[in-house]
Each structure stands twice: as structure tokens, then as C-alpha cells.
């Protein structure tokens, strides 16, 4: 049998294989095409919604006190915008939500790590954590007011009960979905418990953790709105929830709709401005671009 000279051209063969087998990088859309695909559809949907609203209002099915004109709502928003009141209202709510969310991350992350990796802890508080996640945190508002009084502590308590379970559960499911081979690789490389958590578990669980953070943010925001709606006090200042409550008290429908619109705007805005780009960058860097093409 003729002997194949295996060493001579090995490097050339190898270089050829490397060139041929390397996955071709996916073609990226140009900036213009991307804007066309991502910005235009929601704008069209929004315009359609306003058109339908305008038509329904013009048809006068419902009295003005129930369905205000789009223009009335817009002028209400314009009113508080032009005198700068809107900044104070939005800032009051947003800084609470962001601070509450950040505290939630600081508490939820180690909690999630413990639940995911310590069997006893998972058995003990895993179900409780999932239960808390489905319990609307507005249910805690009365208790919080009785415990802490009408102050910021009550509000942060409610926000934390909304966000911590989501963040912790997101991390747990992120860790549960790590391919088992990765921690094993860490183990054979001599990673201890802490360095394994730092260098392998947390980064590997990042996509799931980010999903949990996103949900945690949504829960923080809606818990805060619930708390602000119910817990009213001059000491607490006027956030979006209190503004909504004011509108409701004076049967001022344009203010109510304007407040709901602003609440929605902040929630979606933070998601689009903060979470979406981070998630996108993380998934893209791992070659998980399926959902964005």
C-alpha cells in the first residue's frame, strides 16, 4: 500500500480546510434597510391606532367624558410639557423605578444563584419565588403602608417584591439552561465554586438572566405605578401614578389617558433604549442572531 505522506502538506491542507469550513459571516442589513424594517411598522401601527381612535370619537358613540379626542389628550401632554411639570412627574417615577430595580438586581442575583445551585435552598424557596412572581405586587401595598407608613420605604418594598422574584427566577432558568459540559470544563480546569460562578455560570447564564432583568424591569415599573396610584401623600411627591390618580379624582379623562400614555412610553422607552441593545449585543456576540434577522 502506498504510504501517504501525512506530515508534508498537512499545514497547507489545514489552512485550506480552515478557509473552506469557516462559517461565512452573515450579511448585515444597511442602516437604511434596518430602519425601514424596525421603525416603520410600529409607527404605522401607532398612526392606525390614532386614526381609529379619532374616527370612534368623531362618531360620538361614547360621551366626551369617556372617550376624549386625541387632540385633547395631546394638548394635555403639551400643557404639562411646556411648563416643565412633566419632567418632575416623570423623574419622580423613573428614579424610583430605576433605584428599586437596581436594588432588586443586587438582591435578586445572589438569591437566584443560591436557588439555582443549592438544592436545599431551591426546594425551600424555589416554589415561593415562583408564587411571588405570579402574585400581583399591588396586593402588598396595603400591608406596606401599614408596616412602613406613607413614605418611600413602602413604595420601594412593593417595587422590590415585584422585581426580585423575576430577576432571581430569570437567573435560575438561565443557569438551568447552561449546557452541562461548560461547568464540567470549568471543573477540570480547576475552577472552585466561586470562580466557577464568576467565570462560567454567570456569563453562561447571561442570556436567560437578561430576559429575567427585562421582566424584572417591567415588574418594577408596574408595581411602582400600582403603589403610586394607591399610596398618596404630599410627602411622596407627584409621580405618574399620582398624576393618573389626580385625573381620575377630577373625572378628567384627557389627563387619565395622557398619564397612561406616559406610563406606557416610559416602560417601552427603557426597554427599547436599554434592554434591547444590550440583549442584541450579547446574543450577537454568541452567534445567537436568529431572532434579529
Amino acid at each position: 500500500m502506498p504510504q501517504l505522506d501525512r506530515s508534508a502538506d498537512l499545514s497547507a491542507v489545514e489552512a485550506g480546510l480552515d478557509a473552506l469550513d469557516t462559517p461565512t459571516s452573515d450579511r448585515r442589513e444597511s442602516g437604511g434597510a434596518r430602519i425601514l424594517h424596525t421603525v416603520v411598522p410600529p409607527v404605522v401601527a401607532l398612526v392606525l391606532l390614532i386614526v381609529v381612535w379619532q374616527v370612534l370619537w368623531a362618531a360620538a358613540f361614547w360621551p366626551e367624558t369617556q372617550l376624549p379626542a386625541p387632540l385633547d389628550v395631546w394638548s394635555r401632554i403639551w400643557e404639562i410639557s411646556s411648563d416643565g411639570e412633566i419632567l418632575g412627574i416623570v423623574w419622580t417615577s423613573v428614579h424610583r423605578a430605576v433605584l428599586g430595580f437596581l436594588i432588586g438586581v443586587v438582591i435578586g442575583t445572589p438569591l437566584g444563584l443560591l436557588v439555582a445551585k443549592v438544592r436545599v435552598v431551591r426546594a425551600a424557596i424555589g416554589p415561593l419565588l415562583s408564587g411571588l412572581q405570579s402574585l400581583p405586587s399591588v396586593a402588598w401595598v396595603p400591608a406596606a403602608i401599614l408596616w412602613f407608613g406613607l413614605n418611600d420605604a413602602s413604595i420601594y418594598f412593593v417595587v422590590l417584591l415585584g422585581s426580585v422574584p423575576s430577576i432571581a427566577n430569570g437567573l435560575v432558568s438561565g443557569i438551568d439552561q447552561i449546557p452541562p459540559i461548560l461547568p464540567r470544563v470549568g471543573q477540570v480546569m480547576g475552577a472552585g465554586k466561586l470562580s466557577s460562578a464568576r467565570h462560567i455560570l454567570l456569563p453562561a447564564a447571561l442570556p436567560g438572566f437578561l430576559a429575567g432583568l427585562k421582566q424584572g424591569w417591567a415588574f418594577s415599573w408596574r408595581s411602582l405605578m400600582a403603589a403610586e396610584l394607591i399610596a398618596l401623600s404630599p410627602d411622596l411627591g407627584t409621580g405618574l401614578g399620582a398624576y393618573l390618580n389626580q385625573g381620575s379624582s377630577f373625572s378628567d379623562m384627557p389627563t387619565v389617558i395622557a398619564a397612561i400614555f406616559l406610563i406606557l412610553l416610559v416602560g417601552v422607552g427603557i426597554e427599547l433604549a436599554v434592554f434591547r441593545p444590550v440583549e442584541r449585543a450579547v446574543l450577537r456576540s454568541r452567534g445567537l442572531t436568529g431572532s434579529f434577522t
Binding site: S11, P23, R184, G186, A204, S285
Partner: protein, 261 residues
């Protein structure tokens, strides 16, 4: 038969890199217990390349897990006279969030190397597996063969220690090329031999491919299946067709004995 009380591989100064003495591993208990390995004796000299050959169920992977310290033998003793063994699996198992160079740096980081030294050593190792130019690429941007070469570089990095103590290294490989296509596998085998010759590490290489075992191993050890024991061993000889046929025949014989039961 001596029984190691704590069951973990021990470090000792002897002329062998790895010594397995009457190693037995049973999974489960009572009626459902499965004996994966039974009375297995094996020695690997420092710098030796040993191929473990066997059909499914011969406990090849169990054996590697025991030597790697991922699992403990039920009885028997495993003596290691090397630095912590590095392991390569069938999958490259690179960290998808790190680029190739940082994947190689990871074991160095865990071992406590400084930043500058890490970078230098990782670059050196990538150069060794002829991947000097792709350090900044992520695993998903590399082909299967390139990923396995990064995994090889990472395994070699895992054998390094900060104090620079020159303990002999040991590389455990669990069918690392089984998932690759034929041409890439052929290239990878050559690559492994080249890297092996330039590093002088001992290698314990598990495979079910007779040709691969004969080509790579200085010694080919055939294991029986359920429970795994050493049946026979041969000196490896690259491209020796007769030896390949002989070992294949014996492997078939070992497998056939399971047909009746």
C-alpha cells in the same frame, strides 16, 4: 488490592505519570447496579501516548472521569504523578461569550496568571495549533476543526502552573475528533501528533476507532465492555494494516460475546 480512603487521585513521585491499580467503578446500587469498570490496571509513563480502545459501554469515559478527578472509583487506587490533568471532550465546549484567545486564557486566569503573561502564553499556544490569526474570533465564527484546536490549546494551557514547577503534564482526550468529518479528523490527528511531539505531555486518548488508535498511540490498550477490563495491549505502529486488522478482529470478538447475553 489497596483502597484509597478518600478515593481522589493522589500525587506521588514515581516513574509513572498515571497508575491505575485494581480500579472498580459501580453505578447504582442493589439489583440495578451497573459495573462500569472492574479490576482495571493501567500505567502511563511520563510523555507516553496511550490509546484506550473499546466499544460502547467499556467505561472509557468513566475511566477518564476518574483520572480527571470528576468522579471517584468505588474501589482501587489512582495515582497521578502529574499536574492536574487537562481534559478534551468530543465537543470543543468553548465558552461562547469569549473569543478564541480568551478561551485559552481562561484556565490561566483560574490558575492565577497575571494579565500580561496570560496574553503571551495564550498567543503562543494558539500559534502552536496554527491559529495565530484568529485569537479575536468567537467560537461560532470558527469551523469545527478550528474549535477543537482552540480546545486543544486551552487544554495545554490548563496544564501550566504559575510557579513554573515542571511537573509532567497529562492530557486526557475523550474521543475528541469523533464529531469531525473524515478529512478534518485526519488533519487533526496529524496536528495532535505534532503538538504532542513538541510538548512532551503524556496523553491518554480514548477512541472507538481502531485506525485512529493505531496511528496515534505508542501503545493501544483494548478494553472489554461491561465491565471494562484490559483485554490486551499492542505497540502502536502508524499505517500498519495488519495490526489494524488484528485489533479490529479482537474488538469484534469482544463485542460478539455480548450478543448471546
Amino acid at each position: 488490592m489497596s483502597v484509597a480512603l478518600d478515593g481522589t487521585p493522589k500525587l506521588r513521585s514515581t516513574g509513572v505519570a498515571v497508575k491505575l491499580d485494581g480500579v472498580r467503578k459501580v453505578f447504582g446500587r442493589g439489583d440495578r447496579a451497573v459495573t462500569a469498570l472492574d479490576g482495571l490496571d493501567l500505567e502511563v509513563a511520563p510523555g507516553e501516548f496511550v490509546c484506550l480502545l473499546g466499544a460502547s459501554g467499556c467505561g472509557k469515559s468513566t475511566l477518564l472521569n476518574l483520572v480527571a478527578g470528576l468522579d471517584r472509583p468505588t474501589s482501587g487506587e489512582i495515582t497521578l504523578n502529574t499536574s492536574r490533568p487537562a481534559v478534551m471532550f468530543q465537543e470543543a465546549a468553548l465558552m461562547p461569550w469569549l473569543n478564541a484567545a480568551r478561551n485559552v486564557e481562561l484556565p490561566l486566569r483560574l490558575a492565577g496568571f497575571g494579565r500580561v503573561e496570560r496574553k503571551a502564553k495564550a498567543a503562543e499556544l494558539l500559534e502552536l495549533v496554527r491559529l495565530g490569526g484568529v485569537g479575536s474570533k468567537r467560537p461560532h465564527e470558527l469551523s469545527g476543526g478550528m474549535r477543537q484546536r482552540v480546545a486543544l490549546a486551552r487544554a495545554l494551557a490548563a496544564t501550566l502552573r504559575v510557579d513554573g514547577s515542571q511537573e509532567p503534564a497529562l492530557l486526557l482526550m475523550d474521543e475528541p475528533f469523533a464529531a469531525l468529518d473524515a478529512i478534518t479528523r485526519d488533519v487533526m490527528q496529524g496536528e495532535l501528533l505534532r503538538v504532542y511531539e513538541s510538548t512532551g505531555t503524556a496523553v491518554l486518548f480514548v477512541t472507538h476507532d481502531v485506525r485512529e488508535a493505531v496511528r496515534l498511540g505508542q501503545r493501544v490498550v483494548l478494553l472489554s465492555s461491561r465491565p471494562g477490563r484490559v483485554v490486551r495491549e499492542w505497540a502502536g505502529a502508524p499505517d500498519d494494516v495488519e495490526l489494524t486488522n488484528e485489533i479490529t478482529a479482537q474488538l469484534r470478538e469482544v463485542i460478539s460475546t455480548h450478543a448471546a447475553a
